[in-house]
Amino acid sequence: MSKQPNIDTSPPVSDEIRKTTCYMCACRCGINVHMKGGKVAYIEGSRDHPINKGVLCAKGSAGIMQVNAPSRLRSPMKRVGPRGSGEFEEISWDEALSLATSRLGKIRKEAPEKLAFFTGRDQSQSFTSLWAQSFGTPNYAAHGGFCSVNMAAAGIYTMGGAFWEFGQPDWEHTKLLMLFGVAEDHDSNPIKMGLGKLKQRGAKVIGVNPVRSGYNAIADEWVGITPGADGLFITSLIHELLRAGKIDLDYLARYTNAPALLNSDPNDAEFGLFLRDDDGKMLVIDRKSGKPTAFDKKGVQPDLRGTLRRAGVTHEAAFHSVAETYLAPEFAPEAVAERCGIEPQTIRRIAAELARVAFDEAISLPIEWTDFRGETHSEMIGRPVSFHAMRGISAHANGFQTCRALHILQILLGSVEVPGGFRFKPPYPKPVEAHPTPHCQSNPMAPLDGPHLGFVRGPEHLALKPDGSAARIDKAFTWENPMSSHGLMHMVISNAHAGDPYKIDTLFLYMANMAWNSSMNTKSVIDMLTDRDDNGEYVIPNIIYSDAYSSEMVAYADLILPDTTYLERHDCISLLDRPICEADAAADAIRWPVIEPDRDVRGFQSVLCDLGARLGLPNFTNPDGSAKYKDYADYIVNHERKPGIGPLSAFRGDGTETGRGSVNSEQLDRYIENGGFAVTHIPDSARYYKPWNMEYQEWAVGMGLFDTPQPYLFSIYSEPMRKFQLAAEGHGERQPPDHLRKQVHDAMRPLPVWEEATDDEGGEYPLHALTQRPMAMYHSWGSQNAWLRQIHGRNPLYVPTKVWEAHGFQDGDWARVTSRSGEIVVPVAHQAALNSNTVWTWNAIGKRKGAWALDDNAPEATKGFLLNHLIDELLPPKGDGLRYSNSDPVTGQAAWFDLRVKIEKCAAPDEPQPAFSSLRSPVGKGPKDLAWKVGS
């Protein structure tokens, strides 16, 4: 045998590591960017980072192909061809900014609401909203409305915090995790890491999802529910638990509004509202004294059975309503089984399993803590059942109530903010009362009267004009969807086109591909964007757009403000916004230019600082009229929300202060030295029971999360919702128009009860149609990534066995899929582990020809497709001449997953239908071959 070659097993890995934050999804993992010769050589996860602790997903690892994608925009551009052609002329930044300034300046002088500024999934919303507020338009929101506002709002209204990435199961202690409708989520890597931990410990995972893929593939039990029925399933679990008395009475009495006294007199104008004392505090019956007492009085022991007659009106603990509602036979497993597609015995067994683990396998941590009533507890009792859910339950028109039902289930089991249960991440928990209410008062040359988005507590907070019409272009916070806390991004184009509630001048979009994958009914949105009025002018007169890449949306804008990629700019992942906290720590992070752009592009936030100064906006201009912030980095360091509180919480003041502290000009450097992030741990005895744990509350005040402690009770019963019902019943000053009284009354039930999400098209459109996010793709922008597009370059429609066989489908077949609003012709594939009434496909793989610097014959365009063509942003006309959006009637959340279709086999066309003409690429096409290596 000859000698083995000598190989160098210790080659140098890189010249330098620069630590920053990933951007390929909303998870925001820490990354080590290995540099060679000033170039990005390799990206790996950062081990110290609180989110990902070293791991990195496929998208994150493919960042190098994102930063070098041929589709990157290279310079500001002015449209020269008709909208949608893709014909542009490159212009200078000076020209671009003066074009924008003169148009926006005019709007601001005349009617600021004629600017609609909507941003996509970026997380600089505290900054962009400040800009919009300073401009004075009421028309600002980010993507939450079409994303998962049901989840956010239901969580905050019910328990002062939500799933998304705002909380997490107690991965260390939980013994049973139930996942509802999650394919990937914003907390991507933490969920995977958490599942891995559960697997290692042998904890059980139950996946509730029509599709068994991804997380559901490794779930120990898969519940293949029929879409839209989770609320029914969950309330049935609640029914079983109540019937068996398997609920945490102590927890309910102490930490929820279940013992709070409700006006129970149907004839009273306050029927269904809580009895309050003169300080506005809810009253409970104290078990010791038997007397009505403020819920938070020192030593009070609230009685779940409490009743009180006062001034001739009966008041009963809200828990009476809970029991009455959910013990009704309509919630029995047998009654719900068929609609859910789950056997009654399965429902019963899962209820029993939840009960067993919560109560028989309860755990206790020997940690002493003191609650807000002053009582000290020697231990922390844990109910080791946890839940997580995301768009699968929220992206339905019954999603808000479904999410509420799930939270009520968690609370009944006593498994929120306890060891083994679900835990909040700072700045949550945070009661609704600590959130702003929406503001919409706009005047020329003046800032808005307050933040745009917030949480209504009753009809008085709706964003209505004096005549009762919608103040906002997206009709958020109106009777159609009163609790639309994130706005309704999916309605902006459609409403602006219809001039309903009014016409606008400029649509200013930032990183939202509204001409393609984030629109319902893409084709008609394209038509709206290109529609002209009788004078030949575009119906939506002016569109300004900031993108970093040559997306489909670029072609539909008049002015393009090209952004940098994520490695070329400053960003701030702030506690004021959507931070990167863990349940045990507050944490925030930055991005910083680890490389300089090689094109004439600018970070969008810096551009907004510049535009703000040119427009003379308050908050962006010094008294002498000069620009307040040189760029975004300057803003991050120097902006203060309140004295001592800025976008970044750590290294304030002299560099040692955390949470509160004066501006530190070296703050960014300190973040960079620290790995691009900062973590502040929560003291041990403050780690659980946070809403009621005084040590946590005080820690939060110290961190600047609140100004005073904010302990609160969970809202099993939602009083704000009841207030809307009262209005619908005819009480109060602001009442819904008659055609909406019933809708409001049905939708705003203070205890969630399931309703069918759509008027069941059952007969004609028997199948539910869904999308899922592929783990290795990010919406539309993964496809420009040379590595990722080899993994998911096209998408079939997956069809369950029953349907596959009934239609005689075979591999390679195509089908015509029809909904009430459209038709597509697409390739099909078979999946056995799929709910038998459901078809689905991967989200946003299909691409428009000519976009993303891809070849016209790219499989993304010639085989990939969007389901969006079948989804409508408007419901079919109801005959009253009004337009109703395909949204949840509580929050306005886009009901992506209520889609019903029928399917038939058909001959294979050349490419999926509908087919679109090719866009002209403003950046040319990508190179043929790649052999990427920056080192030698």
Binding site: S213, I791, G793, A833
Partner: protein, 290 residues
């Protein structure tokens, strides 16, 4: 397996070329001078041309010399070594025959043996592969050797030898197909053994690992054209065996003889195309394709 034209050419022509050289080395016919020159040109042309063609199949031909190093373990390396040895040996023999009119008998015999050994090692490159059950059998070397000898006999004009060989080749070809058709199943590799998931139940691919192409799919999961395989088999065996046989039975004539050779070559090329195209690599199991 992907029927790469270079490999088909290489194996068909080098096989025949070495066959012819072997006959010449053994003195059938014992030609000299110009005629020898012509015949050796054909023999070396086929053998060397085939070998050269095979280098088109290489991703990195500049290292080709290294392929001689592993003769102890690698059939491909053995083939390289043997082919060069065979060609050198036969070159000495040919030089004698052409220029001196002498036949170095020992050299010829050794050369002929080396030629046959070369063909055998070529065939063993395929026959050794457990991953391609259709090839992994004695019929592979048998057929390769028969084809080489038959082709050689035809080219060498050894009609009386060629006639029975044509029949034998056809028979072995038919037998190869017949046995080969069930060999994948006999090997027992299934998607269940490939994934180990058989212990749970019947397994199928749900999603491929990549929608883009890759080397494996191009090279080893070649499924195009298999639906024509029955027709091609008939054509291949007919042209390879009975047609040249019949042509050779016709009154002796160069045209018929040339046509017989041509027919045989076309038949063998078709057979060799099928040899690859029909060969299923076990890796296809991972893609639920064969």
């Amino acid at each position: 397996m992907h029927p790469a034209p270079s490999v088909i050419f290489f194996t068909v022509f080098s096989g025949m070329g070495f066959g012819l050289l072997a006959f010449l080395g053994l003195g059938f016919p014992a030609v000299t001078g110009l005629l020898a020159f012509a015949m050796y040109t054909i023999g070396f042309g086929f053998a060397v041309g085939g070998l050269l063609a095979s280098t088109f199949h290489l991703g990195n031909p500049k290292n080709a010399l290294k392929a001689f190093s592993q003769w102890r373990t690698s059939w491909l390396s053995r083939e390289a070594v043997l082919s060069v040895a065979a060609l050198l040996m036969m070159a000495v023999f040919a030089i004698g025959a052409i220029f001196a009119g002498v036949h170095f008998t020992i050299v010829g015999i050794v050369g002929a043996a080396l030629c046959i050994a070369t063909v055998f090692s070529t065939s063993m490159i395929y026959a050794q592969l457990k991953t391609v059950p259709r090839w992994n059998h004695v019929t592979t070397p048998l057929l390769f050797l028969l084809l080489s000898v038959t082709g050689g006999a035809l080219l060498a004009g050894q009609v009386s030898f060629a006639l029975p060989m044509l029949i034998a080749t056809g028979a072995v070809q038919a037998l190869t197909w017949y046995l080969g058709d069930s060999r994948f199943a006999q090997r027992g590799s299934t998607i269940e053994t490939a994934t180990g998931l058989g212990m749970i139940g019947k397994t199928r691919q749900f999603e491929p690992p990549h929608t883009g192409g890759n080397y494996l799919l191009n090279e080893m999961v070649y499924v195009i054209g298999r639906k024509h395989s029955m027709r091609l088999r008939v054509i291949a065996i007919t042209l390879m065996s009975p047609v040249p046989f019949a042509l050779l039975l016709l009154p002796h004539n160069h045209i018929w003889a040339a046509l017989a050779v041509l027919s045989h070559i076309i038949g063998v090329v078709a057979s060799r195309w099928l040899f690859f195209a029909e060969a299923e690599h076990v890796v296809g199991l991972y893609y639920d394709k064969r």
